[in-house]
Symmetry: C2
Subunit: 166 residues, 2 copies
Amino acid sequence: MQLIGVLVYVCTMENDDIHIDFENSIGPWLGKTVKIIDYAFQEFLKYKGLDLTKEQMIVLKKLHDKNGLNQNELAFLTLRNKSSLTRLLSKMERKNYILRKQSTKDKRVNNVYLTQLGKEIFFKTKPIIEEMITDIESNISEKEKEQIINILKKIQSNFNSKIESL
Amino acid sequence: MQLIGVLVYVCTMENDDIHIDFENSIGPWLGKTVKIIDYAFQEFLKYKGLDLTKEQMIVLKKLHDKNGLNQNELAFLTLRNKSSLTRLLSKMERKNYILRKQSTKDKRVNNVYLTQLGKEIFFKTKPIIEEMITDIESNISEKEKEQIINILKKIQSNFNSKIESL
DNA sequence: TCCAATTAGTTGCATATGCAACTAGTTAAA
DNA sequence: TTTAACTAGTTGCATATGCAACTAATTGGA
């Protein structure tokens, strides 16, 4: 597992940047943290023997919350491009986790449903999600959790106005 | 720009999840924030007419900090797999931003250097990096910046032990 | 000295992703 | 009603990425 070395290294790495104070800015810290979490999640899924990516898991979860969402809605909820979603769903359909059903009201629309297998897979994945959440937040106080989420909300809103103005 | 709609939507979205408290956990907030930042960054680079991805920019920056790093070191510093780095460098070499030079001391090693063009591109990119950092941190106080970086460090260290124990 | 183990980098195969162009179905306006 | 504009989803082309298997070079131990 090559990346582990990388992660350990980076996490103990101090600022090596004397040109731009890049490593002491929020952005790079966010990026690294998410990379580490994503990697751990993927490892964890593999370790538990689940044939599933993090992205596919999120789709399963959204469908578990509300079965029959259409692809547009799923793309919105999972924060991805509709073409990316198309291909994600195709892979999941091939594995028989989900099912596309053309809407009778509007033939352009596909409603997406969990299959029995998809439900089972999600059921197996749920404790992993919960454990990931616990792991991320261990050693983090309730107050810190509030703090970080508030700061993240602020950052996001900074970019909403930014993107709209482009 | 399709994603903009997505971003605006998601950022005003409240917790729709009654099964697992996923949307009020740190993980998903981190993920969304990074996605938004990455997207804005990419848009910004395109807007400025730079033929460069965020990933390539990071490589340029690392080489600007220390020209002649080998691929192994670059992979470490940029937190990516060596095979991914190989291909990233190939694309950058094709664009004549960087140059691989085989080490005479150890013929297995490639030292990587910025070309003149690579230096120019980095020079043009630098203000964009600085503006991104400013954007991310606007409306964020110095104290909050410290807070979030500390929390992120804690989260990262949670996963160091986790990954090592797998 | 010579062979085994290690190391740096590449490549095949897989995933995920965005944009732009496309098809097909729907809506709205002339 | 008929056509233009829009919408949902797909596909081609591009990027980035990880793992495993590979090559070539180096190192270290018997």
